[in-house]
Symmetry: C2
Subunit: 230 residues, 2 copies
């Protein structure tokens, strides 16, 4: 950039603008697992220098989405089958706790809101929206627990396990099973049956866990069949 063109934009806010975009690119799969994150390239894309870009990458590193390798730069993390299984384990712990705390606080409006999301779910044909609707339904039931940090952790874990959203649609033939479980869950909540709701939720998450594990098994088999390449 020449001397005359050395224009300074308004100070601040760069990092906060970049982090959510990068996160979305990683979670959606635009930036694939294991891919190197070239700093000059990304900086140019976001129209900033490397300094704020690297700050953004460091935040995503602390989030567990990006990994810095010494003198090699930043990479999108590659998660193993065990990593995913563990994230579902943690989800069981946190989401059951949130639901347990939330059920006594649920009011009519909360239940209506959750019901609306479920109806949107059924009407939605674009499968790329399913993951988002799923998260919104779950959070609608958890948020009355009034624990901001707990909710934030749950959201982060959902997003990360949802890394599979593209794969999930090939895995799950349809929406029947999760939809059914969502209905049961909402019913238990409406009855104020915290124990029952938690049991349903636990099974719901553990089923997802098993599906992801099965996906990994199939994938590794296929890779082995093809001689370990790609």
């Amino acid at each position: 950039m020449g001397d005359a063109a050395r224009e300074f934009k308004v100070n601040g806010a760069s990092v906060w603008r970049i982090v959510p975009q990068l996160r979305e690119d990683i979670l959606s799969g635009s930036l694939a697992a294991g891919q190197p994150l070239r700093q000059d390239e990304l900086a140019a894309k976001f129209n900033v220098s490397k300094v704020p870009l690297r700050e953004a990458l460091r935040q995503l590193e602390a989030d567990g989405l990006v990994e810095f390798r010494p003198r090699r730069g930043a990479f999108v993390v590659e998660l193993t089958a065990d990593d995913f299984a563990e994230m579902f384990d943690i989800r069981v712990a946190l989401e059951c706790r949130a639901l347990e705390l939330a059920v006594p606080n649920l009011v009519e409006a909360d239940l209506r809101f959750a019901r609306e999301i479920l109806d949107d779910y059924a009407a939605q044909e674009d499968y790329r929206e399913w993951s988002d609707l799923n998260l919104r339904f779950h959070l609608a039931l958890y948020e009355p627990c009034n624990r901001h940090r707990l909710i934030r952790m749950i959201r982060q874990l959902h997003e990360k396990t949802g890394l599979f959203r593209r794969l999930h649609i090939t895995m799950v033939s349809g929406l029947e099973r999760p939809n059914l479980e969502h209905e049961e869950l909402l019913n238990a909540c409406a009855k104020g049956d915290a124990g029952g709701a938690v049991t349903i939720l636990r099974g719901h998450i553990e089923t997802s866990q098993k599906e992801v594990a099965a996906h990994f098994r199939r994938q590794s088999l296929r890779v082995a069949d093809h001689g370990g390449r790609n």
Copy 2:
């Protein structure tokens, strides 16, 4: 710095060196809650420029220990009574889950190791070591669950709730109560009684939660008495 003195050190590793030191300074209270983190000053202290220092601060921001305010710079986070209560809630969920998964995997060596830490505990007179020994005892029982991420989250939460380690010693007259509970916990684990161990652990953490809440109440009363100053 003059032209001749423009020495370049070995590339890399600055951020990784700075983050743990800054974290320790915050958790130990050397950097007090709410305090502004002057970038030039800290950069000089760590003998680096602002660029890697800011990257370190961004990581601690994602960790929840530091807060950036637009165009005001970075500050040590100030945690409210509710924040602390919530962190203990999350600890209940995560640590009970970890213990539940760990108990069936516990072998003789694990129990011996935990017992040693407990003995060190009793022998240790320097109260500043108590917090560290406490964490090590708990982790010794959790680690056989073989969940790296879960363990990492628990460690982080322990460190954060331990922000009170300086205050805790003024709060708790001695070590009798926690020590007694630790003994009970270890006994239940030795018997392979996962359910019993989890119950003891839950009570143990919830007692800490109540003590911290009480501390906050007393503190806010004292502040009110003194006219809200300091």
